[in-house]
């Protein structure tokens, strides 16, 4: 009962801030609402006993990606309080994409099977993840690291000191 109400609390935080992201015109406010959205998702993960996923969600998205987004806005924005004005075409494309994604999610929701009770948390989740990543999922793991390496080399190339 209590756990369910916590789930609904976190779900409400996630959904409301997601709606806020779409409605606000201010990019930085949208980024802040994204932070609350991510926190809510982390809370949902916790209430489903997936603490490791919740922690990684916080570290990677809330601590890393979000800061990069805000940093990017700060570096590229023209005025300190830059506003986001979508053109009509952007609004149409965004709506179509959103409807398609929602339909896809709904179909997935209809066809998937869900566990009725939250699973028990794993006693030693990081160790299990590590063994899985270096065992059965070694190839995808290494491919992802190669992708990151490519991105890093690209960034270094773009930021290099040009001659002349």
């Amino acid at each position: 009962m209590m756990l369910e109400s916590l789930f609904y609390l976190f779900a409400a935080v996630t959904a409301l801030s997601a709606i806020g992201i779409v409605l606000t015109r201010d990019i930085v406010r949208a980024a802040v609402l994204l932070l609350f959205c991510l926190l809510g998702v982390a809370g949902v993960f916790v209430s489903l006993s997936a603490t490791f996923v919740a922690v990684v969600q916080l570290i990677v998205y809330a601590g890393g990606t979000l800061v990069l987004i805000i940093f990017g806005v700060m570096l590229t924005g023209h005025s300190p309080l830059h506003r986001f004005e979508p053109t009509r075409w952007e609004a149409v494309i965004g709506t179509v994409l959103g409807v398609v994604l929602l339909a896809g999610l709904g179909m997935a929701y209809g066809s998937a099977e869900f566990a009725k009770r939250p699973l028990a948390p794993m006693a030693d989740a990081p160790a299990a993840f590590g063994v899985a990543l270096l065992g059965p999922f070694l190839v995808p793991f290494e491919l992802a690291s190669v992708l990151l390496l490519v991105v890093m080399i690209g960034a270094g190339y773009l930021a290099r000191r040009r001659k002349g």
Partner: protein, 448 residues
């Protein structure tokens, strides 16, 4: 306790047994935890921050041959309360061009994460708010990484160029220094074999040579890289670029006044204690004394079920823990008032080209060490006596290294203590020379 799902909550806590006589219902736990947070936590963290602020001013004063605050209360100890009252009565200004919502929100975003970390800090074997957080260290890193957002938003929403410069420096500095800090933490975690802060504490209960810092040379070096990186991640001097007063007025909190300003201040001082606590747990044996007595009696009381003894032991352990963390906080202050501030490119150079490669080397060395030179990972107290070699006969190389590292560490610590002591002695006895290089002849008594 909300954080950890329902199956693992509180099941190891002596205090739970003490208060509830068993596992309470979930809603009881939620209500009880909220009450505990409101009644114990918020005042305790505020007290830590207030004492930290007072101690910083006092340490700064003595390092600059001044006295420091000495008017409010004995040795000025109530100075922070007086400051708090003053800040409460100040006008709460919001610049006309600022984004009001974000401007109001960001002090909380900066303060709440630091405050949350205290939930996971084990002050004693059972004296921890959430004893079953198996991912303790990851939680701490995750929660602390949110703090950056608050500081960046504070700078951005002020719409003031000094604030924005401070926020941008903050974004560069904190995000990049989290990497070497995480690597140093990883070295200690590899040596301990767990992310659980309480279990890390129990691993080090066999006396000073079992503290993780003395496990092997790599962890010993990681202790220092962690210290430097955590100073930068908490934007403490000499890495206080985000608020460097000489160039940016006050950096990201230029536009803040009154109570909102004090939230940033509290966050910094609570954060100093947090990073010192993590360092204490990871490297300096958490709540354990150098002779392993706490571990011995802990095992004894736990076996005999003596709850009163365990509560007493927890309180003593909390005293030791706070003592160690305070010593580290003192070193942070010592650094602040000793070293000049580098430029931002120098700060990033140190992170990217010195600390990061060093962290990689340390991590690699530590992993190889664990593979090729197995120690006794996770030896509980009961497996061996601290000063008897019998349990260690299979691990003589490890024991030898631990002995040497312990000796080196004790020498360094003794040297530091001696240095501070000599400086204090000199300051007390040669004050004439420090403050007044060419003393004026004093007028004869009774002439005025």
């Amino acid at each position: 306790m909300i954080l950890c799902g329902r199956c693992t909550m509180w099941n190891t806590s002596v205090f739970q047994q003490f208060f509830f006589g068993g596992a309470p219902r979930l809603w009881v736990e939620v209500v009880y935890s909220l009450a505990l947070a409101a009644v114990v936590f918020i005042p305790a963290v505020s007290l830590v921050a207030m004492i930290g602020i007072w101690a910083e001013r006092k340490v700064a004063g003595h390092m600059q041959a001044r006295i420091g605050p000495n008017r409010v209360g004995p040795i000025g100890i109530l100075q922070s309360i007086a400051d708090g009252v003053k800040l409460l009565t100040k006008e709460d200004l919001i610049p006309a061009s600022a984004d009001g919502m974000l401007f109001r929100l960001s002090p909380y975003l900066a303060f709440v994460p630091v405050f949350m970390v205290y939930m996971l800090v084990p002050f004693g074997p059972d004296l921890v708010f959430e004893p079953a957080a198996g991912l303790g260290l990851l939680w701490i890193l995750a929660v602390l990484s949110i703090e950056v957002v608050g500081v960046i938003l504070a700078g951005w929403s002020s719409s003031n160029k000094w604030s924005v410069y401070g926020a941008m420096r903050e974004a560069c500095q904190m995000v990049s220094y989290e990497v070497p800090m995480g690597m140093a933490i990883l070295v200690a975690v590899t040596a301990g074999g767990t992310l659980d802060l309480v279990r890390l504490g129990h691993l080090q209960q066999g006396g000073i040579h079992t503290w993780l810092i003395f496990r092997n040379p790599f962890v010993f070096a990681a202790f220092f890289t962690y210290f430097v990186a955590s100073l930068a991640a908490n934007k403490r001097a000499p890495f206080d670029l985000p608020e460097s007063e000489s160039e940016l007025v006050a950096g990201y909190h230029t536009e803040y006044s009154g109570l909102r300003f004090s939230f940033f201040f509290f966050a910094e001082y609570a954060g100093m204690f947090v990073i010192a606590s993590i360092q204490t747990v990871l490297f300096l044996g958490a709540w354990n004394d150098p002779f392993g007595l706490i571990g011995h009696y802990d095992a004894m009381f736990r076996a005999s079920g003596d709850v009163g003894g365990l509560v007493l032991l927890n309180l003593i352990g909390a005293g030791i823990f706070v003592g160690k963390a305070s010593a580290l906080v003192f070193v942070q202050m010592w650094f602040r008032w000793t070293l000049p501030r580098p430029r931002i490119d120098q700060v990033l150079y140190v992170c990217m080209k010195v600390l990061l490669p060093l962290g990689c080397v340390l991590l690699l060395g530590e992993v190889l060490w664990e593979i090729f030179l197995p120690g006794q990972p996770g030896v509980p107290w009961v497996a061996y006596g601290p000063w008897s070699l019998g349990g260690w006969s299979n691990y003589l190389p490890t024991l030898g290294v631990q002995g040497i590292m312990t000796a080196v560490g004790l020498l360094l610590a003794a040297g530091a203590v001696g240095f501070v002591g000599k400086a204090a002695w000199d300051g007390r006895h040669n004050r004439q020379r420090l403050t007044d290089p060419a003393p004026m002849p004093r007028p004869a008594a009774g002439r005025r």
